[in-house]
Symmetry: C2
Subunit: 705 residues, 2 copies
């Protein structure tokens, strides 16, 4: 049983400092519980009353007839620890702390928060909050929150919403309600020093009534728990949508001052969650559109090969050519394919549509459809039949006079269709939209929303495909925090050995400690060669003048040996110099960067980036947590914005992508086998049609890990 | 007087083939005109009736008591030309053709359309359409359209909306109405072989009741007319918002099949319209949000210098820390600055807000505001006072209980405020929003919308600033179409002369026809030098093996001379070789591309791009129409996505931006002075702290221009 069961679905609740005033934070939830008919046992504690709205009220905890499963603490920050201690002493195992004035208030508040958590831990108690608005469980008719969201009765549904922010959470939950999206759970985690967003996600996934989970977060203290939850969601086929703010410097600054949580490196977050099949929404509208689609639509079933069953194209049907072009534009921008429909599909459409219509995709049904709305149904059936189409978006507007008929027809389509479709209806009659939603048809009210829904469904379809090819990571992901102790640079030759054993290809390299040795090594490797100073005190060899390239004969090598040694000594007189690396020059190729980093939230992550100016000017890098299978590696490559350079520009041959996938997988293996390695940079890595070879590497070890 | 006056505001109208059935295309407008009380004279032609809804109906044109100013043609495509001819013969000077079945239908329809236009031209008649839904002029209560938009009475307002697409136009116009945005004009241009979107924009700008113009387009046949209209809008301070679809291949394909208009090169379109202060909206929601802001808000007054009056920052006030972070994220993504508020501003905010609040920006007023909504007003006044803040976005949600008070307070703010602010209200009570809009407060319902409004206002403020610095182009922009005749390559030395005279800096170059001459030239220029083959038949010198770099002494130059000549002859035996260019080698620097192109829509455009991999892999190029002043040039540079490379990466010094501006302005001068030059590539151009110098150039002339 999930450890948060008592929090989410308590058999008995006690509210400390209960108020009879429904305008008060400690009174409003009592009114809400009574209104919705919460069936579990509710106890109140306040010496001033004996009863509020029919719930018994006691002078103190000791007077309660039983030990409740859940305690609610809404006293001022300074008093919260004491109340938690009293609950703990009584044997209460979970509590909601909706007091604020803790970590979000700076160092003093942070101390109060730590004391609070320490007290809870002492008693083996889990706490939601502080600075939480509480939670609702609509299945149990439990509006245990002072959020304005619960000012109206709860409406159960297949969506769980977990929000770090209370106010923003309230806004999204309320907007969800007005779209007819029922929230089974709405949980506000607040400062989350104990129960985190990830922990609540894990818990609600257990509930079979929940089919979609949405989360809002500002920081992610437990990235590995989150990844585990995401993998589980993917395996269960329950989509997980995340809004995480703090994508940019100004945003991060605000996040820090807001809840005291560090936004972390958003590029890592973004890559890793997508690796594990999480859909990221940019804002509340995007999130709600996605949820609308996910509660109504099946996840598209895609096939890996280019041929055969649905290859992930989007079919567009519109009553306005202009809207069709706009949808196609948006689709391209989101990386979707808008395939030209098969000749057979187009022929069938011609049987339905009149002369002015376009059948290629977008399909423009023209004004003819105003007279005869069956055209939408007939076109939709035909377009969904095209094997290239995995999801369809239909764009209509107004049609108030024929709205009921259109609803009937689309509901029939929905009952028949195996593939998902989205109805984008501008200026729609509200009653028609309500009927469609009740019948499980996804309706959105903007062109952008329609295409974003299609994009989300397809991203999920591809994630499912990766998951089927590479089920669950064989090895559990563990976060390794930096110990904070001194780290050390691993010698280049030793590093090369370790990397080579994992299957990474490095430029052939030998060590030399004198000019004769360098000359011998060069001859053995074959000219031209490069010479690079080797010293743990000079990790940046080029800056130290310790690199000379394109040495084409023995004399040049001898001369270079003397020069790099001299430069290095000049750069840092006391540098411990182990010698000089002699390396076979590699032919010019596409420059990449590969590496390993240790992220505060996710632990070890593998990095891939386009090198040179791309990484410096555009930060075009992606990340993934190991273990990384071939499909996950392919997905990483596909997420590089500048990936077109891999296809060969300036007359170059395309890069061997399979070799690059080999390298990423090898690096993932390396990361798992060498937990002490906290930092690794392969930069540059040369990628070409002939393969992928690292030319420089820097490995850092945390011996205390 | 604008030539389209009779179209937009006719004193008398005749509808050919009028129908008494309000469900028919030729009947609905009659019902609409009667309903709205159109005051001008309406004549109908149909032998079956003598009167429809009180408007006199005649058997034929000749029976009319006067020559009407405007004729309306709704007959089938095949008959349209004949009706237009009859109207023309009668002396009618403008017509709306809402028949479809023309250019949008392929070659046969295209021929019909050309015949139609030729007939109209013969009679000196202007036509709107074919394939137009007609137009509305709300000031004259004239719903002369069969669009569903006019199913409800017109509502006059300061916005003119011109749409190439009828159906999409209807959707946007209807959505505008439901937001309380009054459309003074709604004009559907259809296939626009005569009256174009640009022409209508030009015409409605003349109307002093119009303050904002919105246009939807798929193609732009008359880019220069559009630019002229845009400049005029900018000078008048009337914002122009454009939605243009066909941004991407799939979108363009659909645009072509939809209205037969070529989408053209969207990168050029996008650059050029922004140069001239047009706001581009990505979709209908974006457009409507922008219009909401533009009808309510003053254009921010910005100052060029970093100091003093408003430098273009965005102030964010929110009741939810999370929403604040999200807004800050979105702002950063749109290139806006979210400045930390001044200490003085923060001190004043501390006087208003309680302890939990954040005052840095975003300003988080916290739940305190639910009890006391005056906090919004007081915070807004203070934040708008901060000299760094040019526009403010306030984010609230729900607050139904205090909605009236909040409305009163914000209306007071609006009356006082000199700077614009946007209210982003999620889950708002509709009546409150209506009151706010009536009082001129901009209200949007999504976080994205709020920030997009701020971005639009600021973009407009910056465009106004450029306009004030560089008023109207001294020289009218003229489109020069390619004549289609043979073009010729201009010799490199002559080209260098022409470019040098306009102030462009080129790498010092001499021509040599034999090895001795090359050696002498090299000695004069100073070693090292480059040798490049000079032949009008070998425009791509490198491919022909005709370039050798870094020649460091006379022997190398002599040897190189022989080699490039031999390579060139090998590559193309019959190439006319003029000699070899000897050029002083330039130090490594940031690689740029500059050039001139001739665009089908805008005529000559100047191009700037980041060179090398940027232009090839990322297409990071921007364009502008000459004349280009310094501020316009600065704006071009600022729009390069990878412009961070100009700031100096990999240890380089920053590029001298003023020198780059010099080069762009010189190129603009060159383009104006040399209309025969139809193509010019300066590639690469080396930019560094020392200046900007072109290393290679290729100039193509159209001698028939």
């Amino acid at each position: 049983m999930n450890p948060l069961r008592a929090l989410l679905s308590p058999a008995s609740v006690v509210i400390i400092g209960a108020s009879a005033d429904p305008n008060k934070v400690n009174g409003r939830p009592i009114r809400n519980l009574r209104r919705d008919g919460f069936a579990a046992r509710v106890y109140l504690v306040n010496p001033k009353y004996s009863d509020i709205l029919g719930y018994p009220c006691f002078p103190d905890l000791d007077s309660l007839p039983e030990v409740p499963e859940l305690g609610v603490v809404g006293v001022a920050a300074q008093g919260a620890r004491e109340v938690v201690a009293a609950l703990g002493a009584k044997g209460v195992k979970t509590a909601i702390v909706w007091s604020s004035g803790f970590g979000e208030m700076g160092p003093a508040g942070k101390q109060l928060e730590e004391d609070l958590v320490a007290t809870a831990r002492h008693w083996g108690m889990r706490i939601l909050g502080p600075n939480s608005l509480g939670l609702t469980n609509a299945f149990e008719r439990m509006p245990l929150t002072f959020s304005q969201y619960a000012d109206a009765p709860l409406q159960a549904g297949p969506v769980a919403f977990v929000s770090q922010s209370g106010a923003f959470g309230t806004a999204v939950a309320t907007a969800a309600r007005s779209r007819g999206i029922g929230l089974g759970y709405f949980v506000s985690t607040g400062n989350q020093p104990d129960v985190t967003v990830a922990a609540v996600i894990e818990a609600v996934l257990d509930d079979e009534r929940i089919r979609v989970v949405v989360a809002y977060m500002e920081g992610l203290p437990d990235g590995c728990a989150f990844v585990a939850a995401a993998r589980r969601a993917l395996a269960l086929g329950k989509p997980l949508v995340v809004v995480k703010v703090g994508r940019h410097p100004a945003g991060s600054r605000a996040a820090v001052s807001h809840t005291g949580s560090l936004a972390g490196d958003d590029a890592i977050f973004d890559s890793v969650i997508r690796q594990h099949g999480v859909l990221r929404a940019d804002n509340e509208s995007h999130a709600l559109d996605l949820v609308s689609a996910l509660v109504s639509c099946p996840i598209p079933v895609l096939s890996q090969s280019g041929a055969g069953a649905s290859t992930g194209g989007v079919g567009l049907i519109t009553v306005s050519g202009g809207a069709g072009v706009m949808m196609a534009d948006l689709a391209e921008e989101l990386g979707l394919v808008v395939p030209t429909l098969l000749a057979d599909t187009q022929a069938r459409l011609c049987g339905v549509l009149r002369g002015f219509a376009a059948t290629g995709n977008p399909v423009d049904v023209t004004g003819q459809s105003i007279e005869d709305v069956t055209i939408f149904q007939r076109s939709l059936d035909i377009v969904l039949d095209d094997p290239q189409v995995a999801v369809c978006v239909i764009w209509v507007q107004l049609l108030h006079a024929k709205a009921d008929q259109l609803v009937d027809l689309l509901v029939q389509c929905k009952q028949r269709a195996l593939k998902p479709f989205i109805l984008c209806w501008l200026n729609s009659p509200p009653a028609a939209v309500q009927r469609l939603r009740q019948a499980g048809v996804c309706v959105v009210d903007s062109t952008l929303g329609g295409i974003q829904c299609a994009a989300g469904l397809l991203e999920l379809g591809r994630a499912r495909l990766r998951h089927l090819a590479e089920p669950s990571p064989a090895q559990a992901v563990r976060a390794l925090a930096n110990t904070g102790g001194a780290t050390e640079i691993v010698g280049s030759m030793q590093a090369a050995d370790m990397l080579g054993q994992c299957g990474l290809v490095l430029a052939p390299t030998r060590m030399a400690t004198h000019a004769d040795g360098a000359a011998t090594a060069a001859a053995a490797l074959g000219f031209p060669v490069a010479l690079k100073i080797e010293s743990r005190d000079l990790p940046h060899k080029t800056e130290a003048g310790g690199v000379l390239l394109n040495l084409s004969d023995e004399a040049a090598v001898r001369d270079a040996f003397a020069r790099v040694m001299a430069s290095a000594r000049l750069y840092k007189g006391d540098a411990r110099i182990d010698g000089v690396l002699v390396q076979a020059m590699q032919p010019q190729a596409c420059e990449l960067v590969l590496g390993i980093q240790r992220d505060a939230s996710f632990g070890t992550v593998v990095m891939l980036g386009l090198g040179g100016i791309f990484i410096e000017a555009l930060r075009d890098v992606v990340f993934a947590t190991p273990p990384i299978g071939r499909e996950a590696a392919r997905h990483m490559i596909g997420r590089l914005r500048g990936q077109v350079v891999l296809d060969g520009i300036r007359g170059r041959s395309p890069v061997d992508r399979e070799a690059l996938i080999d390298a990423i997988c090898a690096l993932s293996q390396f990361a798992l086998q060498h937990p002490q390695v906290c930092e690794l940079d392969l930069n540059p890595v040369f990628a070409s049609a002939q393969g992928v070879v690292a030319v420089d590497w820097l490995m850092v070890r945390d011996p205390h890990a």
